[in-house]
Amino acid sequence: MLGTTITLAFRAIMRHKLRSFLTTLGIIIGVAAVVTMVTLGNGATAAVREQISSLGANILQLRPGQGFGRGGGGPRPPNFKPQDVTAIENQLTGVRAVAPQAQTSATAIYEGSNWSTTVNGTTAAFFEAQQWKLDSGRLFMPEEEEAGKAVCIIGNTVRQNLFRNIDPVGKQFRIKGVSCQVIGVLTTRGQGGFQDQDDTVVMPIKFVQRRFTGDRDISMILVAVDDAYETSAVQASLEQLMRERRKIKEGDQDNFNVFDTKQISDTLTGTTTILTQIVAAVAAISLLVGGIGIMNIMLVSVTERTREIGIRLAIGAVASEVLMQFLVEAIVLSCLGGLIGLFLALIASIAIAPLMQVPFIFDVRVNLIAFLFSAAIGVVFGYFPARRAAALNPIDALRHE
């Protein structure tokens, strides 16, 4: 019986192709919009998470100031000193590596090429903390770090722009008027927190301090937490230690801040998730409007096809069969619309994802929910017109012109 009804529904739909298409347009657009938005949103979330996790897992970043934007005016909070690094190494438990950083921007010159980049003064712990491997060459020797030798390890972006096809290891180049020898090249890391991590020249911190910044200040300290320890516990004791060392009174605000990379990741992905949900909700409203469109056309269709209904009833269709016919017609229409919508969403997502530089992630659940939702729209908005058709009196229906 159901097979028969579905056959009838398909016949009726195919008999009025244009009308059927226009009826389902609302569903098609609604489903396509919702699924595209959610798919791209998921891709964006994944992209953000990917970028941030490339900064390194379980790393605490210690910076002067009260966090992003450094609230209020007042004097600039002091940078850290080498003694702070030693204190963290010696007094904190659960720490795998501690790397001080002093940064400056600089232009590197090699033969005809020049490239402006960031010089990162640090120690070998920097690579250990971030678990960042070398592609070729070697790390700093302890005596090179101690003496602040003019040696450097370069990121892949710098290698490409400065040395092109030449193997840079062992080559000398000039940076901020100083000659420097390349001893290693880092593996590619890609985008991390909205900047190219590979665009860097890493040098011993003592060299950077002596030749470039002119003081012994440290602008950031990376603290890598041992996997066996809770990051939050280590963060708490790090904050306590720094309050003591920077002599901050009870009740006063910290003049430094500690970022947990995982926490940043969670915050950012949370934001993109909320955005995705809002956009999806707006798109879902268009789905609802699409459902009302189906009801509208089905109601018109019932009036237009009154004679047909009369013929069916006269031939011996019972009311429930007419009801089923119209209901199934509405459901088939909305399901077809849903399928077309899913297909369009697939094409749109595959096309747009690369433009947004986010990965395309096919989410089975979202597609399934959107499809079931469009079927449900067929049931809900098809029921009222169907019941109206089934309640018609056969004689009146036959006489209808």
Binding site: T7, R11, P394
Partner: protein
């Protein structure tokens, strides 16, 4: 000729509307239709012929009186039970053909079989057989718009007889056709009556068409005025 009545009306009345606008279309109709008969129903416009046909066709119920079909009381049945009765035992032909538009002749003829739950193969076989009976087998894939009035009416007859009903009801089946096409339809109905054993009831205004029937019932003012033998045999 068999005399066992397949249809029996007793004191059937029909009132349309209610209150001051109420109109009594049938005022107590008594009528027996013998199994296998070919009956022509005649009478002036508004005399209640279509009203009676609708009741006989189980499309409508009498306001009072009894309607026995094959010995069963129909006036007590509900909507769906009457629909099942129509599906099983009755075939309809209307003045306006009433075919589904944009639907092929075969699909139109198959429709009652669909509601009976027949499978695709049976539907096609029986549908084609019915079309063959009315001489339209070669036109099976034409839609009503591609058929003449006479052909459309023959498709409608094929649809009415595809389920091999006991009774075929036709309300002015030749009302929209010229006399040549009308005679063809009457010959078809006569053939179905004689060779397929279908009881035929037909409303007509034309004495030439009524001449094909074996029994002629005349209505006047919502009552049966007279019953006489026709020229058919």
């Amino acid at each position: 000729m068999p005399t066992d009545p397949i249809i029996s009306l007793r004191g059937v009345t029909k009132v349309y509307g209610s209150g001051p606008t109420a109109f009594q279309a049938l005022k107590g109709v008594d009528l027996d239709i013998a199994r296998g008969d070919f009956v022509a129903v005649m009478g002036p416009s508004g005399s209640g012929k279509s009203t009676t046909m609708n009741i006989l066709g189980c499309l409508d119920v009498p306001s009072a009186g009894s309607f026995l079909f094959k010995g069963h009381h129909v006036e007590t049945l509900d909507r769906d039970q009457r629909a099942l009765l129509r599906r099983k035992y009755l075939g309809f032909v209307f003045q306006g053909f009433n075919l589904l538009s944009r639907t092929t002749a075969l699909e139109n003829v198959e429709l009652p079989l669909l509601y009976r739950g027949e499978d695709r193969k049976t539907r096609q076989e029986q549908g084609m057989a019915a079309l063959d009976k009315v001489g339209l087998k070669p036109w099976w894939d034409h839609t009503p718009a591609e058929l003449s009035g006479g052909q459309q009416q023959r498709v409608a007859i094929a649809r009415a007889i595809v389920t091999q009903p006991d009774v075929l009801l036709a309300d002015e089946p030749t009302g929209n056709l010229d006399s040549e096409r009308s005679v063809e339809i009457m010959e078809l109905l006569t053939d179905l009556n004689k060779n397929s054993g279908i009881t035929v009831l037909m409303v007509t205004h034309e004495p030439e068409m009524a001449a094909f029937a074996r029994t002629i019932v005349t209505f006047k003012d919502g009552l049966v005025e007279g019953i006489r033998k026709g020229e058919g045999n």
